[in-house]
Subunit: 477 residues, 2 copies
């Protein structure tokens, strides 16, 4: 299908499927928004960008591509961090954008469910829930741009996994277009359904390699009466793990956020965003942001959170702590946490990781990996932060102060990845906690994933997408 004549026939079939206005090629328009990734590290080349407006049109696009042997790259908000949603450089892949599949199909208050199409932006789904006095507890930095389809295809994480699980845990059913261009619909909104293999969880997290998610039913919960945020200075990572235990026992399911940041991560925020007042700066090597979501109200939330912090001070797992006095203060605390990646970018290029570990192994892992990094690259600076309650760290590495970041990356990036991932492996962790594999980590996956698991995954891929139509080169390279 790499001949121009084949291309023309495919384009004609795609135009017949979705209408000429929704088949874009480089002859019509600059395709960069669909060809370049969020972090701007890669630009592919698409044969075309197709924007179906309905599930039936998605199915027609899949059948057209299958007939012409053209690979399909599904794309939502294109906010992925592992090159999972952009085409390769071949110019033969069709980007299927879900942008026009953005309807809220239904909200069932008694069933606590929201049915949305794949291209619906996460924030729009959150707002639909809020308008009904309910809560869609999935929250991540890209929520203003990322889509529900992408969230599910990558099993997105974020800041509320501690309490509500990953994106997959919020999904009760899917609508999916399969490799043979048929539609599987499980959008019934059932909380219990043991009638066969759980295909839902197979498609969720498969990064567009097994089928195209076109709609989903999401679980909602009642909105909490109050949310409250606190900030604690913590002497070391073992104390952080102990503080997590105190908070879990004291707050139970009201604990909805537990984020850790090392002092250097906060120093970068202070350097590049001096208008943000980082509390308790310099008091201890680590800070923790805690969030409670209370079913009763502000006063109750405050009393409970203060009791937890008092216990922590008494136990020595916090050196000092403050509770936000207002919603504005709480927003500032979250804003500090969310500014870390931006401060890192201001500081210069860096080596990023998205790792997870058993919570109990975090102190030992960090001690070991940090020491090895210091030995391997003297002067290296570690930006260690993340969702400690889920065992998820963004264990990022910045070049030595004053060094040339680009040269540092060229010389050390591969070695640093290997050093960190090997340590992760030794401590029973994962090299991708929440971002996925995409094209970025597909080649290194076999080094760190179980060989039996890889064989099973390849067998599943062959079974559901024998022609390798969906997102080739991603996840399983």
């Amino acid at each position: 299908m790499s001949s121009p004549a084949g291309h023309d026939a495919l384009l004609a079939a795609l135009r017949a499927a979705v209408g000429s206005a929704h088949v874009l090629t480089a002859a019509d328009v600059d395709l960069e928004p669909w060809e370049r990734d969020w972090r701007r590290r890669h630009r592919g080349r698409a044969l075309a960008v197709v924007r179906p407006g309905s599930t039936d049109e998605v199915a027609a696009v899949v059948r057209a591509c299958a007939a012409h042997g053209a690979p399909i790259v599904p794309q939502g908000g294109n906010t992925g961090l592992v090159l999972g949603g952009v085409p390769d450089a071949s110019g033969t892949q069709v980007v299927l954008s879900t942008a026009r599949l953005n309807r809220i199909r239904a909200l069932d208050e008694a069933n606590l469910t929201l049915t949305v199409e794949a291209g619906c932006v996460l924030q729009a789904a959150q707002q639909a829930a809020e308008a009904a006095g309910l809560w869609l507890p999935l929250s991540l930095a890209a929520e203003g741009s990322c889509t529900i389809g992408g969230n599910l295809a990558t099993n997105a994480g974020g800041t509320q996994v501690l309490r509500f699980g990953n994106a997959r845990d919020l999904c009760l059913g899917l609508e999916v277009v399969t490799a043979d261009g048929r539609i599987w619909n499980s959008l019934r909104g059932l909380r219990k359904d043991n009638t066969g293999y759980d295909l839902r969880h197979l498609f969720i997290g498969s990064e567009g390699t097994l089928g195209i998610i076109t709609a989903a039913v999401l679980k909602l919960v009642p909105r909490p009466a109050a949310q409250l945020t606190a900030w604690a200075a913590v002497p070391d990572l073992a104390a952080t793990v102990a503080l997590l235990g105190v908070a879990q026992r004291g707050l139970g399911p009201a604990l909805t956020g537990f984020e850790v940041m090392n002092a250097f991560a906060l120093a970068l925020v202070r350097r590049h965003f001096p208008q943000l007042a980082v509390p308790l700066a310099g008091v201890a090597p680590y800070a923790v942001l805690l969030e409670t979501s209370d079913a009763e109200g502000e006063a109750h939330a405050r009393a409970r959170l203060e009791a937890v912090l008092e216990q922590a001070l008494e136990d020595g797992c916090a050196a000092d702590a403050v509770v936000a006095e207002s919603l504005a203060q709480a927003r500032t605390l979250w804003h500090i946490r969310e500014s870390i990646p931006l401060a890192q970018a201001e500081e210069g290029l860096n080596v990023k990781h998205d790792i997870s570990l058993p919570v109990s192994r975090i102190p030992a892992f960090c001690a070991e990996a940090e020491a090895e990094l210091a030995r391997a690259v003297p002067g290296v600076r570690l930006v260690n932060f993340g969702h400690l309650g889920d065992g998820n760290l963004h264990f990022n590495v910045q070049c030595p102060e004053g060094a040339n970041a680009a040269a540092f990356l060229r010389e050390h990036e591969a070695r640093i990845h290997e050093l960190v991932y090997d340590a992760v492996q030794r401590h029973g962790g994962s090299i991708s906690a929440e971002h996925g594999i995409g094209a970025l980590k597909a080649r290194i996956l076999p080094r760190y994933q179980d060989a039996v698991a890889l064989d099973l995954m390849r067998a599943v891929k062959r079974a559901l997408d024998p022609a390798n139509l969906f997102n080739p080169g991603k996840l399983l390279a």
Copy 2:
């Protein structure tokens, strides 16, 4: 492999794999405990019962059976309700009992995880968590006999799904023996891991047809400071759904149980277990059992639960209500709820269903199905009870008062199933909420499950178990 010589060679290989003492045949012992199902509706015939003592021995058994073409029926506590764990009548199937794989491998307090082998009885796992001051929130009637492997193979439900999800939602990782006799191990206890397809959820709920679960990592939570139970008399099912909303908004995640029972279900309990004092008997056509699990303590739990019940009385979605005054009273309330199936059995044979619906559809479904049943079989008596918070009803049908139950079943059982399942289908529900498909419902599954879903499931089965070695005739007949 149906020749006696083939059998002898297989038995020799099995004895070599696990030791002679752990290969049982009808020549040695009555195999009824492994061949007959829990409800005693079926007795199969096994070629042998094999009891491996380690994961490596399970793998050796699988390789021996694969080499001799002998199908394997994995069996845990043999408490399943859909003939999923017993052999067929052919005498050619090998029952693989997980009884000896019953070790608690690890408990990680900081990570809140418990690693157990598949043959570990659920109650033993619960007790291991309790001994560490933690809680494994999976609870079902058979917990004294059922095993973790069976719970996961069938994705068990139970009484705490409302808050904690099904068995699959409590599992962070598995150890599985595959059809080629290899071992896949994902027992790392990670809360986030996006490194490929979620094989864990594929094996969970696959009823032993894709692989043999040999161990699992389960999530634990801190034990609540207090649990409190209440009983409400409710005028109709719409009011029950409204009461659920009041309880969810008022208790938030502290609401851990919400069970509904119709008046006839409770009348049967009063008739057959007169020693159990059913509260508010005769006050209203439905009763609801509510349970709250509170992170603070008894007084707080009581105040919150009473506030919910006052609101419900005010809204008219409860006619009357009582809160248990002691642990003993709370146990009695649960005991009444759990006695319904036993009271039904005392009353005589009946037609059982394990259905789920969107919670919002329950009133309309029940009205329609109840009217149709009354038209189809005049005098029929409906025992309607279940986990309403999950949309899961055990919508069981008892013969008319004084009729011959056996004759009634012979004449009406198939028609009643069809009538109920067709109504479930029209209302967007599932014909198996928590019990699974097994051999019992395998033949009717294609009538009610999506055709595309069935094709995908068959493709997955062929990919992971091409020789149809694991539990043939179950789930996908």
